[in-house]
């Protein structure tokens, strides 16, 4: 069985006696160390699915297993990075990164310090260790959140449009940094985005979602198409561009279909 396995999971929300289907039953297997991006229109339900993996939304139908065991409430095994930089303002950069470690009774203090230092270095914030997080930029704050999550050594890293609020240059920089970190850490990662290039650049596989209620339109094996070597130069290559156009067309057709269905419904 796959490391992370989503089996026939569906979801609907009830508001004022109206049942809205968010996810149609869908299944997906993610291997250990794999980085999968969820790509789809805003509000389609891809974030909901990721939050279900994180234990932050209840699973009413189907099941999600991690290493063969069904998932329950949120815990340290599934680390989450949010779009709004959730770095804690009352702690320094170092305090933030060490936050999860203070609940670890299985580690001696010296090791906790070593881990904190390692991730401070990894995200390039060693020089800002004692700064409070509202005195550093948004990009740096998001690096703090990533380092904080990695420091508590999760089995799965969940990222909810983490670079969505950043300017283009900072986003590019953080994408490169994430690729480097991922090469070093080999973390199983789900990365939610609506940016097609970002989805391709970072992923081993891109999972394309339909409009709400979400189903999986297609899964693109980026590794097979572009190889595993990723850098900024790849973005300019013909193979990358043609893959981008292909995916963009898929999404464009889906958008048109969803809009038509919506208008037909309205009439």
């Amino acid at each position: 069985m796959a490391f992370l396995s989503i089996q026939n999971v569906s979801k609907s929300f009830r508001t004022d006696d109206v049942e809205t289907e968010v996810l149609t039953p869908l299944s997906l297997d993610i291997g250990r160390g794999e980085l999968v991006t969820f790509l789809g229109p805003s509000g389609c339900g891809k974030t909901t699915l990721m939050r279900m993996v994180g234990g932050l939304e209840s699973i009413e139908a189907g099941q999600i297993t991690l290493d063969g065991k069904a998932l329950g409430p949120p815990d340290r095994r599934r680390g989450m990075v949010f779009q709004s930089y959730a770095a804690f303002p009352w702690l320094t950069v170092r305090g933030n990164i060490a936050f999860g470690l203070k609940y670890r009774t299985d580690l001696p203090n010296a090791e906790k310090t070593a881990i904190t230092d390692r991730y401070l270095d990894m995200v390039g914030l060693a020089g800002f260790a004692d700064q409070y997080t509202n005195r550093i930029s948004g990009g740096m704050r998001q690096r703090v959140a990533i380092a904080r999550t990695l420091a508590s050594d999760p089995d799965v890293l969940l990222m909810d449009e983490p670079f969505g609020a950043l300017d283009a240059l900072t986003r590019e920089h953080l994408q490169q940094q994430l690729l480097r970190i991922n090469a070093a850490e080999q973390k199983t990662t789900i990365f939610v985005t609506h940016d097609v290039e970002e989805a391709i650049l970072l992923a081993h596989r891109v999972v394309i979602f339909s409009a709400r209620p979400a189903q999986i339109l297609s899964v693109v094996d980026v590794g097979a198409r572009l190889g595993t070597q990723r850098d900024e130069a790849l973005r300019q290559s013909a193979a990358f561009q043609s893959l981008r156009n292909e995916i963009q067309d898929t999404i464009r057709i889906e958008y048109a279909r969803a809009r038509e269905a919506e208008e037909a419904h309205a009439v």
Binding site: G55, P74, R76, S84, Y103, T149, S152, L158
Partner: protein, 260 residues
């Protein structure tokens, strides 16, 4: 230099000068009205007469002792409010059941005018210290409870969810995330609530007390010692201003990280 610039700050020095100018304009207008003879001195003494009365209060009537007693009452009742409202308010926002059970009752009590409760509280607690502290407590506790509940409820969901995925338990999230995240707003609300305490204190001390600022002001009224009455009011203002400044200073020091 232009002073009236729409929604724009001014140099600190200018602000200080304007503040003093406003104060002196008020004192000047008061002085001129008092010496004009339009109003009798027993109704409106001059500002200087109030300053002299202020001195007499301290030298002849041991007013400092009364102020100390009043401050003691305020802080005793306020501390009692805070130590119960902090954990209970946190519980109300953390567990919907606690919130749902308490909110209707708290909202009801919150709207009861505190002066109307004074007779009842005197029947219950007598005319000693207990009834005064009860009045102040009734006036602040229920307000504070809802304020703490709101402040803790407003802590971003992402902070709490980050806590769970970093391995913290519910209790650890309350202690290490919700409390520190809400504390700057809570301290601000404590500052405001403490101000209300003084209002209720004067009511409690006027109705039934043999000491305290409110009692002194009320007993001087009987002899129409208007300057002394006004001096007593000014004293409350000064104590309030000093407390407020102390809170603001502490806020700046404790929550230094909020400064950019």
């Amino acid at each position: 230099m232009r002073l009236l610039v729409f929604r724009t700050g001014l140099p600190r020095r200018t602000e200080l000068i304007l503040g003093l100018a406003g104060l002196f304009a008020f004192l000047g207008a008061w002085h001129l009205t008092a010496i004009s003879g339009l109003i009798k001195p027993q109704f409106l003494p001059t500002p200087w007469a109030v300053v002299e009365a202020f001195g007499r209060l301290f030298i002849e009537r041991n007013f400092a002792g009364d102020i100390a007693i009043s401050i003691g009452r305020v802080w005793a009742a306020f501390t009692l409010s805070v130590v119960i409202a902090l954990p209970l308010g946190l519980m109300m926002s953390s567990y919907r059941a606690v919130g749902a059970a308490l909110e209707p009752f708290v909202d009801f009590v919150r709207y009861l005018p505190v002066p109307a409760l004074v007779p009842l509280l005197i029947i219950w607690f007598g005319v000693g210290e207990a009834s005064k502290i009860a009045v102040l407590w009734m006036g602040t506790f229920f307000q504070l409870l809802l304020l703490v509940s709101d402040d803790t409820k407003r802590v971003p969901g992402e902070y709490v969810e980050s806590g769970f995925t970093l391995g913290a338990s519910q209790w650890q999230i309350m202690r290490d995330i919700i409390m520190p995240a809400a504390l700057p707003n809570i301290v601000d609300n404590l500052r405001i609530t403490l101000g209300w305490c003084w209002t209720y204190l004067i009511i409690a001390e006027i109705v039934a007390a043999s000491s305290g600022v409110g009692h002194v002001i009320w007993s001087l009224r009987r002899f129409v010692k208007t300057p002394e009455v006004m001096a007593g009011i000014v004293a409350i203002g000064i104590v309030g201003l000093l407390t407020d400044q102390a809170f603001r200073y502490a806020h700046r020091r404790w929550f230094r990280y909020q400064r950019r």
